[in-house]
């Protein structure tokens, strides 16, 4: 918490006295990205072990420190002291680079997240072009093109993953990494498509701008197309960060380790850290895009008070950061919950699920989002009081109906398709589906 305060102070200092922005940079880099976030991630690991234990009627780590709080530290020390092994014929440089790339990808996506509200400055409204007070956001960098930046840096992870498998010079690691790259590339598409409605509604690519719009008009998850986009985004995020039920790349009960098979010691630890940090980053992105960042439910409360005194701003930022972390915590709990519930997906179904269900649903959802934009957002653009009560409910009713139809339609078509392919396959083999029947296909053809 101390680090947080220091960073806030640094931010204010940087905002007030432009000549010393390096103070803020320094603090973000060393207190935030090198200190606070890895520590946070270590405790997410601890939290996952505790929560997973409770789901299975166990206690979880409780031996190292009170409530096992030092368990992550102990694990870290253990990893540091293990042998750092590189296979003899591995490509040493790339082998060393791969885990770092994955970690960098997760850290870079954290750089644009507005954790708090920041302060207020006069900016052009993205929809109407009128100058009005806008949140500046408490983020390391406020990029005007934050969303494409996020898409770009999160793709680095699949590169690191593939390099890890490739450079190990081990066929199992290579196979594992190819599987996971296929998975990550497939699920990137619905993940990105799910953010398009948000960009459409807020008229800006900046995450701070999106946050500002949500404080103005309500969270995007509370609208039917926004909710659908939220669900699709979460599902594809599970696949993106290789979490259950999409944890095929490192399916611990089936494969040895997948892409990080040849990694040990702290390099394996970096993969571990990267996995959890990307999970944290994805939860932060989701909170910013759909759950209104640090906004308190149904209130624009701290917004009007910002921009006056520095002390008030600091205090309000603290509140918004706390609300933000609460929302992120709930999303992370969702990750744990799903992991405790669902079994792992089969690899062919994994692909079919992304390409045949999520992507069509995303495209239809985009159309419905446009309808929402036309009914609710565009007619009132520039008006200070936002959409009227009646208008909002008309929009809600129409889009909710369309969403329900789209959902059932998409799932129905998906099922029809899989049943159809099963039938044609059965008739072509002329026997019950079994491995032996499948093997006999080539001899017939």
């Amino acid at each position: 918490m101390n680090g947080l305060w220091v960073s806030i102070v640094a931010m204010k200092m940087a905002a007030l006295s432009e000549p010393v922005p390096w103070v803020a940079w320094f603090l973000w880099l060393f207190v935030g990205f090198a200190g606070l976030f890895p520590l946070l991630v270590a405790y997410i690991v601890w939290g996952e072990r505790k929560v997973a234990a409770r789901f299975q009627d166990r206690i979880g780590p409780n031996r190292v420190g009170p409530f096992g709080l030092l368990q992550s530290i102990a694990d870290l020390v253990k990893l540091l002291f293990k042998e750092d092994f590189t296979p003899a014929r591995a490509d040493f440089l790339i082998h060393a680079l791969a885990p770092v790339l994955m970690l960098i990808s997760a850290m870079l996506s954290l750089a644009v997240i507005p954790f708090g509200f920041g302060s207020v400055s006069m900016r052009n409204d993205p929809v109407t072009g009128v100058l009005r007070p806008t949140l500046t956001g408490f983020s390391a960098v406020d990029l005007p093109s934050g969303v494409p930046y996020l898409i770009a840096v999160s793709s680095i992870a699949s590169l690191g993953l593939f390099l890890a498998g490739w450079s190990s010079r081990n066929k199992y690691a290579l196979l594992g990494s190819m599987r996971s790259v296929a998975q990550m590339v497939s699920y990137e598409i619905p993940q990105v498509l799910a953010t398009v409605p948000i960009v459409l509604w807020s008229g800006t690519l900046s995450l701070t701008g999106i946050l500002d719009r949500q404080v103005e008009t309500g969270w995007y998850v509370l609208t039917p197309p926004g909710f659908m986009a939220f669900v699709i985004f979460m599902i594809s995020s599970f696949a993106e960060v290789n979490r259950a039920p999409f944890d095929l790349p490192e399916a611990e009960s089936e494969l040895i380790a997948g892409f990080h098979l040849e990694y040990s010691s702290m390099r394996f630890g970096l993969f571990f850290l990267a996995e959890y940090m990307s999970m944290f980053a994805v939860c932060c992105i989701c909170t910013t895009l759909f759950l209104g960042g640090g906004a308190i439910p149904f209130l624009a409360f701290p917004r009007g008070l910002l921009g006056g005194y520095v002390v008030v701003d600091l205090f309000l930022n603290l509140i918004t950061i706390l609300v933000f972390s609460l929302k992120v915590g709930l999303l992370i709990f969702l990750f744990f919950w799903v992991r405790a519930t669902l079994p792992r997906m089969r690899v062919d179904r994994l692909m079919a699920f992304a390409w045949k269900l999520l992507i069509p649903l995303c495209l239809v959802n985009l159309l419905i989002a446009a309808i929402w934009f036309e009914i609710v957002i565009r007619p009132v653009a520039g008006r200070p009081d936002g959409p009227g009560f009646l208008q909002w409910w008309i929009g809600f009713g129409v889009t909710a109906l369309l969403e329900v139809l789209a959902f059932f339609g998409a799932v129905w078509l998906y099922r029809q398709d899989s049943e159809h392919s099963l039938k044609t396959w059965r008739s072509s083999t002329g026997s019950k589906p079994s491995i032996i029947a499948w093997r006999s296909v080539p001899t017939k053809v």
């Binding site: 929560v51 009627d57 206690i59 409530f67 519930t341």
Partner: protein, 225 residues
């Protein structure tokens, strides 16, 4: 065709399980199942031998973990690990007559013993020393089944780990001897059974006779009374 209903229900089932661990049983408080203000303390654990004993039954709800070194499960009477040699509290005499039946019946052959000798070199029905290789022993209990003098019995001590195995894992008579009082405590039902009571009476009588005979036949007589 279900549209994800099973998915939602499944998640509710696991969530219910998660919440229940905070509502019922040991997960409700900050206390351990065996009691005591644990889990928040630093480096405190109950004294060895005084650990609370807790039971796991089909009625245990919520968290059912037994935090082993600080808590333990109940050891039941028929639970057996290594054999021990019993001596009688009454006269301090060891029951074993060194008849070697246990060593013969032992499937992995981990028992051996040396006969005690009288002053003139004749064998006396007492073991001079008695060895069990605890690494080899498979805890089958056949020695205790076959012993005609109820001298060798199965113990319940399962904490046998050691830092060294070549010397300390071959138990000699000093390591193996326990009092009949100890045996009565760990095996109350067997101790009080009519069968064992009569056996005890018979065995002590028989043994006394044999001892007297052996000693009187070997000339000079240090009478044992």
């Amino acid at each position: 065709m279900a549209f994800g209903r099973g998915l939602v229900v499944g998640h509710l089932v696991t969530l219910r399980r998660f919440v229940r661990t905070f509502m019922v049983g040991a997960g409700r408080t900050w206390q351990r199942r065996g009691g005591g203000p644990q889990r928040v303390d630093f480096f405190q654990s109950p004294e060895r031998g005084l650990e609370p004993v807790i039971e796991q039954t089909d009625e245990t709800e919520g968290i059912f973990t037994v935090e082993y070194p600080d808590e333990r499960l109940k050891v039941h009477e028929r639970f057996r690990v290594l054999p021990v040699l019993v001596y009688d509290d009454a006269d301090g005499g060891i029951r074993c007559t060194s008849c070697n039946i246990c060593a013969k019946v032992c499937p992995p052959q981990c028992i051996w013993m040396t006969h005690a000798q009288g002053p003139d070199g004749n064998p006396v029905p007492v073991p001079e020393d008695f060895f069990i290789d605890m690494d080899v022993c498979m805890n089958c209990g056949l020695c205790a089944e076959y012993c005609p003098f109820d001298a060798i019995k199965m113990d319940q001590n399962f904490e046998l780990a050691n830092y060294e195995r070549h010397q300390s894992h071959i138990f000699s008579m000093q390591d193996l001897l326990v009092s009949s009082g100890y045996y009565a405590e760990t095996h109350p039902e067997a101790w009080m059974s009519a069968d064992e009571q009569s056996e005890r009476a018979k065995a002590s009588k028989k043994k006394n006779q044999r001892l007297q005979k052996a000693l009187s036949s070997s000339g000079d007589v240090p009478r044992l009374d």
